[in-house]
């Protein structure tokens, strides 16, 4: 029963993702006109704690975490092609913000501060590395996660004498509502950015950075700005999810795997359309929750094989397959010519 509730809500999320993708290219009045269904989907999601068993929205919170990481990651890394592996760092910053401030401040304030600190970190990282070639950026962000966890571990051993921290817990529905709120904010931000001149700038940077610079776009500023914005949601998500896990230590808070998963999910879903990462995150996160309980020792293997298979044979991801099917239905045999 819980699974059915979860699946309905996952479909709602996928629809909203598709709607945002569609809405970016329409004029504003049309968007308002057709947003009815999307709003209904949102209501379905928002009222889940009212009609679903606790397990359903706990599971959905976990899936929303991956959704937030994946879609935020795609916000920057999708159009520009700069593969960021710092997602775990921003998420971890959020976790530790909860750990340090959670006792003294209300939940929402902690979440917002978590987002803000992530922004600052992202701005610093971006300013250092986004001036250089993409490979340095990838490599730097990869090491950043390990660096922060090393520093924290050293600090904890040397100064506080403990390893890991306890976090004030929050109730499951608070967690769910806040995660849903962050997701909605993220969708809105993605929609606004893609419609604005910055979204266009980002795309032109991704296609040909030098040409974009020649057109007068302040390439570094745009990159740093969008990179920082994408970090907000990751930080906020980290802050609130920490209140579910209650105990964290540097290695589990800053786990590089949490940087790789958004990349995998986005590529699996397909990077060419906005709903691709949504699709990928929803499917893989659901699978992960299911597989983790039954085959905890093979799921990394499964994900690795999926990643290799997608890169080798399905470069467009699931979206690529979906679009091919749609084209074939719409235009018949001559679809792919």
């Amino acid at each position: 029963m819980a699974d059915i509730m979860v699946l309905i809500n996952l479909l709602a999320l996928i629809y909203i993702g598709w709607f945002v993708d569609w809405a970016v290219k329409q004029n504003k009045s049309k968007v308002w006109l057709f947003s009815g269904l999307a709003i209904i989907m949102l209501v379905i999601l928002a009222t889940l704690p009212n009609y679903g068993p606790i397990y359903s929205y706990i599971m959905l919170s976990g899936i929303l975490m991956y959704l937030i990481l994946t879609v935020s990651w795609t916000m920057f890394s999708g159009p520009t092609g700069y593969i960021s592996l710092a997602s775990a760092a921003f998420f971890g910053v959020g976790i530790y913000t909860s750990a340090i401030l959670g006792k003294d401040l209300p939940v929402l304030v902690v979440v917002i501060i978590g987002g803000l600190i992530s922004v600052v970190l992202a701005a610093i990282v971006g300013a250092i590395t986004l001036r250089l070639r993409g490979i340095y950026f990838i490599v730097f962000t990869f090491g950043l996660v390990l660096l922060i966890s090393s520093v924290l571990l050293w600090y904890e051993i040397k100064f506080t004498g403990t390893r890991g921290r306890f976090i004030v817990a929050a109730s499951n529905d608070t967690i769910y509502y806040i995660m849903l709120g962050i997701t909605v904010l993220m969708f809105i931000a993605a929609y606004l950015i893609r419609r604005s001149k910055y979204g266009l700038a980002l795309q032109s940077i991704g296609q040909n950075e030098e040409a974009a610079a020649h057109m007068g776009i302040n390439v570094t500023a745009v990159k740093v700005a969008i990179f920082s914005i994408s970090a907000i949601f990751m930080g906020m998500a980290g802050s609130i999810m920490a209140m579910k896990w209650i105990y964290v230590d540097p290695y589990s808070a800053f786990d590089p795997f949490r940087s790789f998963l958004p990349v995998l999910m986005a590529i699996f879903g397909g990077m060419n359309k906005f709903y691709g990462p949504v699709l990928g995150a929803v499917i893989l996160a659901f699978l992960e929750e299911k597989l983790l309980t039954e085959f905890p020792y093979v799921y990394k293997l499964g994900f690795g094989i999926i990643l290799i298979a997608v890169i080798l044979y399905l470069p467009g991801g699931l979206v690529g397959v979906v679009e091919k099917v749609r084209a074939r239905i719409a235009k018949g045999k001559n679809a792919l010519t």
Partner: protein, 288 residues
Amino acid sequence: MERFLDIVIAGLLLGGLYALIAMGLSLQYGVARVFNIAHGEFIMLGAMTTWTLYTVFNISPLVAIIISGPVAFVLGFIIHRTMFRKLLSSSANQGIFESNSMLASFGLMFVIQNLAFIIWGPEIRAYNYLTETVSIGGALFGARRLVTLAFAIAIGVAFYIFLARTRIGKAIRAAGQDPNTAGLMGVNINWVLALCFGLGAAMAAVAGVLVSMCYPDSAVMGQEYLTVAIIVVVLGGLGSIPGSFIGGFVLGIIGSIVAFYDPGLTMVAYYAIFILLLLIRPKGIMGK
């Protein structure tokens, strides 16, 4: 003075290992243009198989070097011929190939790491071999560390001679400069790229064997060594194999100095150097 010698020699010992690890990655990225994220896993495989060979079959790690090198080479060669060759033909340009191959190597990393986890479990493994100490200039060093250094230098020098003096070495250098033109000049480019990838994997595995002699190992040890390899490769200069060799020793000595004051800060120090490098001289020591 004795302290100083202590630190320098310890730094060289560490540096030899780093140089070996980085050279393999540099070969794979510099020539085959694959930024192999799974490099750390080959190191791990070398280490763990050595542990198994020693504790179960009583085969000496030095013999394990001779076994694991060629096996890793074949594995790397096959992986390149199947996976990365397919990507080469399906990628529209160099940049796309580089990012696709890097992502594919991610997948490879997951696969190898999980397989190792299934085979060896999560426990940390270690064994004792060549634990006698040798005295140099009044300071004591483990014999195994000196053997590690000797091997690292020997392999480094041998590889340099191979690159500089043999025909295949010339082909590799040509492929590194311009794969297309090299192909036009008669170099069997597909074969050479796969060869380089395989050689890189072999170097990683041999480094893994040496690491296992000196440090405890586990199925998840790859990531930290990968990070060090990446930092050394950037320090030495992306695309320069001699640079990686020198960079390894430089980082090793720095690591040894930092470890003298506070061992917990070595990774932090490496990273700080990395940041400084990116800010001041991203090309590294010998980068193009």
